[in-house]
């Protein structure tokens, strides 16, 4: 029997994708004034679906790509402060959700361990 449940394994992957999203956002924010820089991002849902699927691709780290369809400034930079702030808030909330659920999973295991200690 495993202490690790399917749920906690999937949550770990979810946290990985959320961290990648936060990382790319931080990277875009850091380069908000770099001439010629192109914003990077990931498709969260597609990545999650890929990570949860079986097969060799499931374990690979999330793939980052250039974001398209953004308006570029005259210096070639297409980072938008508002968009990145939103993305960061979103990544943060996803991360917190994952952490909360993961904590609950561990709590369940702890409850099982302590089940007969109570009374």
């Amino acid at each position: 029997m495993h202490i690790e449940s399917i749920m906690s394994d999937q949550l770990t992957r979810y946290l990985d994708v959320a961290t990648t999203q936060a990382k790319l956002t931080a990277q875009n924010m850091a380069n908000v004034d770099t001439p010629g820089y192109r914003a990077m991002g990931i498709d969260f849902e597609a990545e999650m679906r890929r990570m949860l699927g079986d097969g060799p691709t499931a374990a690979a780290p999330a793939q980052a790509g250039l974001e398209d369809g953004l308006v570029a400034r005259p210096d070639g930079n297409n980072v938008s402060m508002d968009r990145e702030s939103l993305n960061l808030a979103e990544a943060q909330l996803r991360y917190r959700t994952g952490i909360t659920l993961l904590k609950q999973q561990y709590q369940m295991t702890m409850d099982a361990i302590h089940a007969d200690n109570g009374k």
Partner: protein, 161 residues
């Protein structure tokens, strides 16, 4: 995936923006400077940002930390370039090639034989816009650090009962 690496990227941006603000301050402070060490009036400076490449190999990381780049000699107040992966660094501080402004003031000690004094071509408006943009970008990356701190704290909470 390392959350601390993310803070380094945001930190490198804060460092770069601060240097930019320092350069703007130096420009405004020297708006009327007619004498410099290199002779002639002060020349307006501006910084060039460059995105950090991902450090792929040990050699790259070592190279970054040992070879003092040319740009680092130009950075004010002894700031070493912070080359966090995914972050930003200052590629160099360059001088504005614009020619100095000539103002007629024959009584000035630095006046030429024709009575004109060469003043730096510094526009307070341009400098203020640059300063505001640097402040905003600094704040943006500051809130990113705040968010990343929150995420790390949340992860640490797992270990608490």
């Amino acid at each position: 995936m390392n959350l601390f690496g993310l803070m380094e990227a945001s930190g490198s941006a804060m460092q770069a923006e601060r240097v930019r603000a320092e350069v703007v301050a130096a420009n405004m402070a020297n708006a009327e400077t007619t004498r410099t060490e290199s002779g002639g009036p002060y020349r307006r400076q501006h910084v060039v940002f460059e995105a950090n490449a991902k450090a792929t190999s040990f050699a790259d990381v070592l190279g970054n930390s040992t070879s003092g780049s040319v740009a680092s000699n130009l950075l004010p107040l002894g700031t070493a370039p912070n080359k966090a992966a995914g972050g930003v660094h200052i590629a160099g501080v360059v001088q504005d090639p614009a020619s100095p402004l000539k103002r007629y003031d024959p009584g000035h000690p630095d006046a030429g034989p024709d009575g004109y004094v060469a003043y730096p071509d510094i526009n307070p408006l341009t400098e203020m816009v640059d300063l505001m943009s640097a402040t905003r970008a600094y704040g943006l990356n500051g809130s990113a650090v705040q968010a990343e701190k929150g995420m790390i704290t949340a992860a640490l909470d797992i270990a608490k009962g």
